[in-house]
């Protein structure tokens, strides 16, 4: 503990150097954190509790909601298939299908069924009013935060204008970035009146293990219909929707790893400088009776503090950016937000700690193993 104080004091000896190193580490780790937080957001989007028990019925060979049109009447036939617990017809309207930073997704479904089928909890406002008013909408809390929406606000998008009746949270994270409306309202709202058609059906089944079998049964029903269907587990659906995103993320992760390497080089350089200018001081410490381990601890501690401190700064900056900007990246109607979770913070700390330790290792060993007499003779 006392030695830790000495490390802290020593970092203040060259404030400029410490500051530059911390800022350098912070910039690099900020990037690392942002990339990893997007990855965490993606994991969260994929990890919804209901994903395994939910199937999504889509127009065959369409993979953007804007091109999938299915007759609403299919819902009755789907409900009769054994194993199906419930089926919810959903109309999706969104501003664009490609990867985008500002995805706006409307989902329309019969209001009461919607509230029953989805694991949502209205945090503010009034679910009853949503059910009552034809142009009312429930807004996911992530979307509300992003657009600064409150209960009672009107929200216009294209020629869709809805009144915010409530803000909800959901056990399905991707839903928190969605505006839920009445089905009929959304069917009429687009440039083309699409009354009677929906984008997809969300089907709850009784047994997750039978997902494949039930999906096949649904597709069989409509194999020869004008609009054939393609039924997939929601997880597979999410996976394909976020393909672009995962691709970009995969690339960004390499940059993130590069950044950790930069952190390593930065810290190693600083600690090396710091230990080089203190060779004699360490010699004196040794004559006072300090052991090799003590010296190694001093040097390694410095490396760790620089790496961890800089990372904490980077983490803080990332948190600030995520909190204030509410950015999310959307793709094919699925929105993924940046999420900084405790596990991520822990991982950042571990990565930074490992980088710091690795960076400090050589200078520490060198300083500790230097013969006392030689050290004392250093200028």
């Amino acid at each position: 503990m006392k030695l830790a104080r000495l490390i802290a004091k020593n970092l203040k000896r060259r404030p400029m150097r410490t500051l530059l190193t911390l800022l350098g580490v912070a910039s690099a780790m900020l990037l690392f954190v942002l990339v990893e937080s997007l990855s965490a957001g993606l994991d969260r989007a994929m990890g919804g509790t209901e994903a395994a028990r939910t199937l999504v019925v889509y127009r065959q060979n369409r993979y953007c909601p804007q091109t999938s049109f299915l007759p609403e009447s299919y819902v009755e036939r789907i409900r009769k298939i054994p194993g199906v617990v419930s089926a919810l017809p959903v109309k999706v309207f969104l501003n664009n299908c490609r990867a985008s930073l500002d995805l706006v997704t409307f989902q329309g479904a019969p209001a009461e069924e919607l509230l029953r089928a989805r694991p949502v909890q209205v945090l503010e406002g009034d679910a009853a009013r949503f059910v009552r008013d034809a142009d009312a909408a429930l807004v996911g809390r992530a979307f509300a935060a992003r657009k600064g929406l409150r209960v009672g606000d009107s929200f216009r998008f294209g020629n869709i204008t809805v009144k915010v009746a409530g803000i909800f949270s959901s056990a399905e994270p991707v839903e928190e970035d969605v505006v839920m409306t009445h089905l009929e309202f959304l069917q009429r709202a687009g440039p083309v009146n699409r009354l009677g058609t929906v984008t997809q059906f969300e089907v709850k089944i009784d047994d997750a293990a039978r997902a494949k079998e039930i999906a096949a049964a649904i597709d069989d029903q409509f194999r020869t219909a004008q609009e054939p269907t393609d039924t997939r587990a929601k997880l597979a659906f999410l996976e394909s929707a976020t393909r672009d995103l995962r691709e970009i993320l995969g690339f960004a992760r390499w940059l993130g790893i590069g950044c950790v390497a930069v952190v390593l080089a930065l810290v190693a350089n600083t600690v090396l400088m710091s230990s080089q200018e203190r060779v004699r001081e360490f010699g004196v410490f040794r004559t006072l009776g300090f052991r090799e381990q003590h010296i190694a601890f001093l040097v390694l501690g410095e490396a760790l503090i620089l790496a961890l401190g800089g990372s904490a700064l980077g983490l803080g900056a990332a948190q600030l950016i995520v909190e204030t900007s509410h950015v999310s990246i959307g793709s094919e109607g699925v929105s993924v937000g940046f999420r900084i979770v405790p596990a991520l913070a822990l991982r950042v700390a571990l990565v930074a700690g490992a980088a710091g330790a690795l960076a400090g290792l050589y200078p520490a060993l060198r300083s500790a193993s230097r013969p006392v007499v030689a050290a004392l003779r250093e200028a």
């Binding site: 500002d102 706006v104 929200f155 216009r156 998008f157 294209g158 020629n159 440039p191 083309v192 009146n193």
Partner: protein, 171 residues
């Protein structure tokens, strides 16, 4: 080579390449000469009893009409533009959060309503279309309200074209 030379070469090189990466090469922007049009085309005041675009499309082929509408598309190299019925809603109306770079496209309107509410306006120079764009002539531009006087020609598909003899641009 002195440090200064190295530095300036570097700065220039980076400036040059960052320009390249910042934006894709701009499209070959064809020179947009404004059409030279007879003074008589300009109307000082709005003719009374102008029809709406929807009404004009119902009028008989070959009649002289006065029609009021909002400027929709403008051709870049000929004095031709389209007008939309004033009842149609453009994406430029206040409160719209949709990212619409060409609000005069009426992309949020029902296509069927749109089709029934648009007419083409052409300005001739002799037998030919006047060359050059009419954009900026007398302040004419997208979404401006205009009243056009001229001869209506219709084809068998119901498309209405007005050969303009006078145009009033509302300021």
């Amino acid at each position: 080579m002195s440090t200064r030379t190295i530095l300036s070469v570097l700065v220039l090189a980076l400036a040059a390449c960052s320009q390249g990466s910042e934006s894709p090469p701009p499209p070959a922007d064809p020179a947009r000469p404004v059409a030279v049009l007879p003074a008589s085309l300009r109307l000082e005041s709005a003719p009374s009893a102008a029809l709406s675009v929807v009404e004009v499309r119902a009028a008989a082929n070959g009649t002289e009409v006065a029609v009021t509408g909002r400027v929709k598309d403008i051709v870049a190299t000929r004095a031709v533009f389209t007008i939309a019925d004033l009842s149609l809603k453009s994406c430029a109306e206040p409160g719209d959060t949709m990212d619409c770079e060409t609000p005069w496209d009426y992309c949020c309107e029902d296509p069927a309503r749109l089709a029934a509410g648009v007419a083409t306006v052409e300005v001739r120079s002799g037998a030919e279309l006047a060359t050059g764009t009419i954009q900026t002539w007398n302040g004419l531009d997208h979404l401006k309200s205009v009243v056009v006087v001229g001869k209506l020609t219709k084809d068998d598909k119901g498309n209405a074209t007005i050969i303009a003899s006078g145009i009033y641009v509302q300021s």
